[in-house]
Symmetry: none
Subunit: 425 residues, 2 copies
């Protein structure tokens, strides 16, 4: 390694940033249609390419994408979203535990009326406490339930003794039917685990927990108030996204870098917790389209004071894509542009290297994630520029990196930063 | 996944489509030199790249290429061409069987005079029946021989009882010497299987079968007639391309798509049979330079009525490459262009996505397959265009996909079509 000072590293992500041509934008993508002088400066001075986080065409989630971007092969390590959700809200997930994402929901009998209980905002801490009081322990299993923002929550099941008869198993079905107007089903073992005692036991406990949680929630004064105010009561909690504890090498150990994560989604926060990174809270980072992007950028600058590496993610572009809303997605991308402007103004890019990209595409015309490649740019210390002059889907197709994958990213960044050890002599 | 209607998928291949610069074309390739407005339209509106079916520079056959293009790693699954040839002519291949491609040939004593018996066209069914009558059973092994088009045939050896002493083994040498004017050799175990009883037994049975088949063929009236007409007699059947049964996950199971195959070569038909795809016959699809490309394109359109996916292949360009004939290859590529024009006219590409490419290159100046990348274009529903304006080897090198491999193709296509499930949350 050279004697020069190693540079600091930033991965700055617009969630769901990439897109497809939009008829209302005359066939341009939002990134191509919006004026983004700061992003264009990165491209003009930097090295561009098209990122396929896993491989070309493969459609992935935010959890699997962030794993891939940080160099943890999701096909090897991913065991469901539940453990990340649980870690993200501050629940511990131990080997042998089974974890779930849950929604507070509104049901009428077993019929699902509102999957998000009117996006309930207040009082979910008290609702969760009532659930834990009534259903905190079922048949030798601890049931740890905790609220997150709005209607979101997580559940961890932990068997008293891992030597017990059956233990727990994640090969079970979901309770949340994902559609309103239908009855929510019982949890049951998956076909491949139909005769597995642990899967049978886990399904039985989930069903009992859902029943007891419903009793506790239906009787709660907060829901009486909501009904009185004509708001949908949060009278059920429906588990989904089951998974088991994963074994991920801590980020600091894998890369020799002291890393921080500034992200707005519990799912990804949970990954940061798993990797033993510092997960930093930013007041004003709402995870919504109203998020304070300058507060996020300022937190990145501050975090670099005592970290070698920061990954930040602004969630808003993904929301615009899911909602199929051109204006909303362009406003969200403008927030990414503003944040990058702040970083350019407040950091010395002879001592800093940044990659700006997205974790996946969420095209407006599709309304969900796609497996299209995401435009990406590397800028700053050590980066050898190409000829690309602006940032966007088509310009970055001409980038010097060509198409690359998530597993290359940390190698590229630590190469530019001068922190990577030579392999060989 | 979005709620929008999933699109239908087409893979349209020109066999051996890619080429190298041809001096007679002033250094252009046939694709570059020929006017191909329909293919150019695909490129201008679509996403281009360079396909390396397995990996850059790797020279492959039509069987291994089609496996790779459909996402079945040939290095993992390929066990010789014999089983595909046998399936392609309608013979069953069971676990433990050993299968061969055969040629009807003309021999004088042991000397190979004509490898294709003058490309015999008539009477091979009667010749095969005579062989099966005389050599249908040797030493506890069924020998199932069946003719295909022209001089082509296949042979399957099946041991009576898989628990028998030695069984069968495919580690044996070929009988067809691939060159005329030399003696055809005896079959023998490969060096690594020299002391293996099953390989020894298999070689012994092959030699006995070749001897008995020669007797049956030499004595057949059809050959007496051919000699009377000064045609080379089909007085031998020479096995080659030995292989064993392969275990491939059915296409419908792997991708959740109901798939059809419209191809002109038994080898690839056999792969389709292996994958439990619907292999569709098209009257007029001769497999030769006179093939009816519009009949093939019309069959693709019709197949999409009740299939989610169709792979079609026009064989003619490969023949032109093997023959080193510029005019012939350009005429064959014109057939691909015509077929694509028919598809553009008869299909709604807001509900259809197509990839057009070749399974490999067969350059005119080389006269055989090479490992050069093949130009490829994706067009239609969901495809984000790049800046490429025409279809050809050099234009596609600037494509947005860069260099990609066969294992990406089904992910790319199902991503564009909206039929792929998200991995992660």
């Amino acid at each position: 390694m050279s004697d020069s000072q190693p540079a600091k590293i930033i991965i700055f992500l617009g969630d769901g940033l990439g897109d497809r041509p939009v008829p209302a934008l005359e066939g341009r993508t939002p990134l191509e249609a919006l004026a983004t002088p700061h992003l264009d400066r990165l491209a003009a001075e930097g090295l561009c390419g098209m990122l396929n986080p896993v491989s070309p065409g493969r459609i992935i989630g935010s959890d699997t994408a962030h794993m891939a971007i940080l160099g943890y092969d999701p096909f090897k390590y991913y065991k469901g979203r539940g453990p990340f959700e649980a870690k993200g809200v501050g629940l511990e997930v131990l080997p042998g535990d089974v974890a779930f994402r849950c929604n507070f929901a509104t049901v009428d009998g077993r019929k699902l009326v509102d999957r998000r209980a009117g996006r309930i905002k207040e009082g979910t801490d008290q609702l969760a406490a009532a659930v834990n009081e009534k259903a905190g322990r079922i048949d030798g299993v601890q049931c740890l339930f905790k609220e997150s923002v709005e209607h979101r929550a997580a559940l961890v099941l932990r068997s008293d003794c891992s030597q017990s008869a059956a233990g727990l198993d994640h090969r079970i079905t979901e309770v949340d039917p994902h559609h309103e107007g239908v009855d929510y089903p019982d949890c049951a073992p998956l076909p491949e685990a139909a005769s597995d005692p642990a899967a049978q036991r886990t399904a039985r406990i989930v069903n009992e927990w859902v029943r007891l949680a419903h009793e506790a929630l239906a009787a709660h004064p907060i829901n009486a108030e909501r009904v009185a105010e004509s708001l949908p009561p949060a009278n059920a909690a429906l588990p989904r996204g089951v998974g088991t504890a994963v074994d991920l090498e801590p980020f600091a150990h894998k890369y020799g870098l002291h890393g921080a994560m500034i992200v707005e989604v519990d799912l990804v926060r949970g990954l940061g917790e798993y990797l033993a990174m510092d997960v930093i809270d930013v007041p004003g980072a709402t995870g919504g389209k109203d998020t304070d992007e300058i507060a996020i950028a300022a937190a990145v600058v501050k975090a670099l004071d005592d970290h070698d590496f920061v990954l930040a993610n602004i969630k808003a572009p993904d929301l615009g894509g899911h909602d199929g809303d051109v204006e909303q997605k362009m406003a969200a991308i403008a927030k990414v542009e503003n944040a990058v402007g702040y970083l350019l103004e407040h950091l010395d890019f002879t001592q800093t290297v940044i990659m700006v990209t997205g974790d996946h595409c969420t095209p407006i015309t599709f309304g969900d994630h796609t497996g299209d490649a995401v435009p990406a740019v590397f800028h700053g210390a050590g980066v050898r520029p190409d000829d690309v002059q602006s940032f966007g889907e088509r310009p970055c197709m001409h980038g010097g990196l060509g198409n690359f994958t998530g597993e290359d990213i940390m190698n590229l960044l630590t190469n530019f930063a001068g922190t990577q050890l030579k392999f060989g002599a």
